[in-house]
Amino acid sequence: MAELQMLDPNEHAVSGRYRLWWRFSRNASAVAGSVIILSVVILAVFAPWLTPHPKDAGMVVDFLHRHQPPSAEHWFGTDKVGRDIFSRTVFGLRISLLLVVGVLGISVPSGAVLGLCAGYFGGWTERIIGGLTNIMLAMPPLVMALAISNLLEPNLFNAMLSITILWWTWHARLVYNVSKSIATEDYVEAARLSGAGPAHILFREILPNCVPVISVKTTLDAAFVILFGATLSFLGFGVQPPTPDLGTMVADARQYLPEYWWEVVCPGAAILYVTLGFNLLGDGLRDMFDVGS
């Protein structure tokens, strides 16, 4: 606390980026979350080199070593056809992260742009986008995603697609609220009077104000998307075997409970680990930016 007060008078002298870093490094929740996420990203990206049995992510069958408890050779034990669960879990994290990047990479920008436009232009733009958002929000996401991904064909891409279709609405609504309240601010008016086009106003004047809300929401969303994807595949509608997916692994191993508990516990704990990371980081960012819940 004393250090913080010492720094305060010079606050204008430190760059904004440094100040942000300072606040970040003081926030235990944000740091812990980042460490967890970083470890997962590293594991997922370098999965083929970091896992002891990368081939087990595929259709390998080794009945001699099925249902083995955790050991030095197989840290998380082996599954019903003798594949190394640790390797499969790491590859499963890869799928989870892919899902997050795919879903949020499309739905966050598109939701943000729609929200910005609705808030700034008002009138019919606002009414149409607002109405669309309300309709989409009324759809139970899991029910819709189940319906969509099964009417098409259950696989990773369609799971991603069906989640994306539903996900942009939350961001649209969030950005809309900020954009609506800022659209009448003096500096936006000033920009308009000095001849700035709508693109400049939307993306250079209003969007920066939405960054805190968007980043908090996106981080927390990453956890939701992972849970969502895992639930879809748990029900058999997401990623199809033999691709290792955490939800599918839990579903497959459920029938062997409680004897072969590690087959459920390990992939389950992996889901918990990632979602915990994103939630901690999200909470930390919320404190840092002082965005209300």
Binding site: M139, P140, L146, N150, T231, G292
Partner: protein, 342 residues
């Protein structure tokens, strides 16, 4: 804009009707356009082209999509969702059988959520930074982090081990020889029939799935109640009450709690969508045999009439829940009561 609360509620009703219409358009287009020919799907690959065409005509599929849509909506309003391919019965009959089971589960879990989460939120805000705050924080983090299927499986496993007499599947012990009565809600039917053993057994069966379903919401609502309590403590009228020496107990329960109930209620309304979604998982794990299990099966079997009905009814649940929430908030919040809608 809206001077009377009733006007506000009518305005809400109108917008909810629009939402339902939009939902109907979306799912109808999806189900009619995406999977190809419903007639072909219904008859299977062995049917001849003539048979398929005949059924297409019979189902009205040869008419323009817009005409199909409006005749569908017209029938759906009267409760006619067509026939289910799987059960070979009108979808509405299936719904009548399965919806009460799910409603009973979902409502119990909402009650559960509020009973646990609101007091926890109040206590954690009151004793901010103390150990109980930490417990609350861990609990709410667990709630939002753990996948509902994992939590449900864990509950089942733990209870099967610790309390072998605790039921972990189904809605009722078949040995009681009780089949559901007029409402389909076992708790109500049991009470009406004076069979309190049935009520007790139904409650025992409800406990685990309702808890599993409530977990995610408990996390969120605790968090939101806590931050609302903390925020409202700084409000002028609360400070005034404090400075007048009004007892803390009265401040918390008569003023703060009422004000702080608005945020969790609003979230509850929005979260209802994911609650219904999670019911799909929980019902499957606990063999609940409700509407969500029916929906899951319909989706799996590509039973289009049933799928459309399931999505529409899920949407209706959501809309109805939000209507209830809106009314509750209007009743709680004096600012809204006097000014109408926001």
């Amino acid at each position: 804009m809206h001077d009377q609360p009733t006007t506000a509620i009518f305005y809400r009703l109108g917008s909810f009707a629009l939402v339902m219409l939009g939902l109907a358009v979306t799912i109808f287009v999806l189900a009619r356009v995406v999977p190809g020919d419903p007639a072909r799907l219904a008859l299977g690959p062995a049917a001849t082209a003539e048979q398929v065409n005949a059924l297409r005509h019979e189902m009205g599929l040869d008419q323009p999509l817009v005409v199909q849509f409006f005749s569908y909506v017209g029938r759906a309003i009267r409760g006619d969702f067509g026939y289910s391919l799987v059960s070979q019965r009108p979808v509405i009959v299936d719904l009548k059988e399965t919806v009460p089971a799910t409603l009973e589960l979902v409502i119990t879990s909402v009650v559960f959520m509020f009973i646990v989460a609101v007091p926890l939120g109040v206590v954690t805000a009151r004793y901010r930074g103390r150990w109980i705050d930490l417990v609350g924080r861990i609990l709410s983090l667990t709630g939002v982090t753990i996948p509902s299927f994992l939590f449900a499986i864990t509950l089942q496993l733990v209870f099967a081990r610790l309390f072998p007499s605790f039921p972990i599947l189904g809605r009722l012990d078949h040995g009681l020889g009780f089949s559901s009565g007029p409402t389909g809600f076992l708790l109500i039917d049991g009470t009406l029939a004076g069979r309190f053993d049935v009520v007790a057994d139904a409650l025992k069966h409800l406990a685990l799935p309702a808890f599993a379903l409530a977990m995610a919401g408990i996390g969120q609502i605790t968090r939101i109640t806590r931050s609302a309590m903390l925020e409202n403590q700084r409000k002028d009228h609360v400070l005034t009450l404090r400075s007048f020496g009004v007892p803390e107990r009265v401040i918390v329960f008569r003023y703060l709690l009422k004000l702080s109930a608005i945020a969790p209620l609003t979230i509850m309304g929005l979260e209802f969508a994911s609650l219904i979604g999670n019911a799909f998982v929980v019902e499957m794990i606990f063999s609940w045999g409700g509407f969500a299990s029916y929906g899951l099966n319909a989706i799996l079997q590509k039973d289009l009439n049933a799928v459309i009905a399931v999505v529409l009814v899920s949407g209706l649940f959501f809309v109805a829940a939000n209507l209830v929430v809106d009314i509750l908030i209007t009743l709680i919040d004096p600012r809204l009561r006097h000014r109408g809608s926001r």
